[in-house]
Symmetry: C2
Subunit: 250 residues, 2 copies
């Protein structure tokens, strides 16, 4: 049995708490939030607190708060001999400042508070300053997910950078696609299966292999025709991405 204290009440903290409460091998001994109201709904299932002086004893302390606050927050409690982890993709393990073992427990997924999440399939990237810590985090991660990766801070930084392209930027392209549909009274939903299939395909074949479209073919006629239908703002993106595809595939 691994005992954990979760510190935070944001999206990731909420989903993690839910998952750990369900896991048989894990004992959620306490949840902390600055604002008790945020975690009031948990009081029948675990101890809740807004006081860092009253933290219970546990094997792992999970700090799941905004990136910028991790550094300062991590100095504020004393749990010597235990392991303290944060859950951020972009913050180094060394941002944790205190007299304890350090680690990272980063579930790589996009979380929305009200949407249910199947943790089993979410990759969890772990890292620790000690071997003992890594073994513990491995067990902790495996209790909720089938997909656990040991990734150091440097690699995690790159993973997070890559995620900006495949998640944030890809979503922005969906938004431009949606915009084009709305401007022309075409139902965007017609494109849902294409969007999903494109995303599924890269899990079987490399994205370079499956690239298609006018830029890949260097079909200047089609590209010029399409450019003429776009707003200036859309045009810039179309041009740059087409040039980049062409460059990649020439």
């Amino acid at each position: 049995m691994i005992s954990v204290v979760i510190l935070g009440s944001g999206n990731v903290a909420t989903h993690l708490t839910r998952a750990f409460l369900k896991a048989n091998a894990i004992d959620v001994v306490q949840v902390y939030s600055r604002n008790l109201k945020n975690i009031d709904y948990l009081k029948k299932r675990t101890s809740i607190t807004d006081d860092l002086e009253n933290l219970k004893d546990a094997d792992v302390y999970i700090i799941s708060i905004t990136d910028d606050a991790i550094d300062e927050f991590s100095k504020r409690f004393d749990v010597e001999g235990k392991i303290v982890v944060h859950t951020s993709g972009s913050v180094s393990m060394n941002a944790l400042k205190g007299n304890y073992d350090k680690g990272v427990f980063y579930p790589l997924q996009t979380f929305t508070k009200d949407t249910k999440v199947k943790f089993k399939k979410i990759p969890i990237c772990i890292e620790s300053s000690t071997k003992k810590g890594l073994i513990l985090l491995e067990k902790l991660a495996s209790s909720i997910s089938k997909s656990v990766f040991t990734i150091d801070s440097k690699q995690r930084e790159k993973l997070h950078l890559s995620a900006v392209f495949v998640n944030n930027f890809a979503n922005h392209l969906y938004q431009i696609g949606n915009e084009i549909c709305e401007q022309n009274n075409v139902p965007f939903e017609v494109l849902y299966p294409l969007i999903k299939e494109t995303a599924k395909k890269v899990t079987r074949l490399s994205p370079k292999e499956i690239q298609t479209g006018p830029a890949k073919r260097n079909d200047v006629k089609v590209m010029e025709k399409q450019l003429s239908q776009l707003s200036d703002h859309q045009k810039e993106i179309y041009k740059l991405l087409s040039a980049s595809i062409l460059k990649t595939h020439k």
Copy 2:
């Protein structure tokens, strides 16, 4: 029973032929290809030909060849009183030049020849020059798909344009994400669930609503740090898409 002749042996033609052969309400009376070898595997199941003079009688003739060839090809056979359709997303219905009813039968999906496709979920966009033709195409499309949309040539052009963003360009971003992972010895597969979830999310919520990331938050510190880790080529794309997200959400 609707009888069809399929003209072509590319990706779309192959998948359509397979789907229609399975559909109870459809009789595939013939498949045409310039090169008989391409369709030899079909000869036990239907008539095959490489001679446009020997086309059989059918209700619908489906031209599924490269976009540029449709215009010329459509003049080469005489099936007065019948309906002739093409399957292209980017070619107008009026590219069909002949003395027959005209139409479009455009399955909006990315096809790979060797990958199986579930037609039931693929949106089919139909259009016709006559009411009679539209009713026939509606039946034809419904025999293989649950998702049939009446979309005119103008709308289809915009849909195709939108698809360039959500499919071709999104895939290119996956490729850059993959590149960043490879350059830094991080397994790209860690990102598969994120890629799939991002694509699935836009089918429930609008892409504008679910935008996240440093650009959306205007987190200059993170953006500068990330930019410093990219190649010049990646940098340009990062800058332009970040600026575009910021502009959209400010």
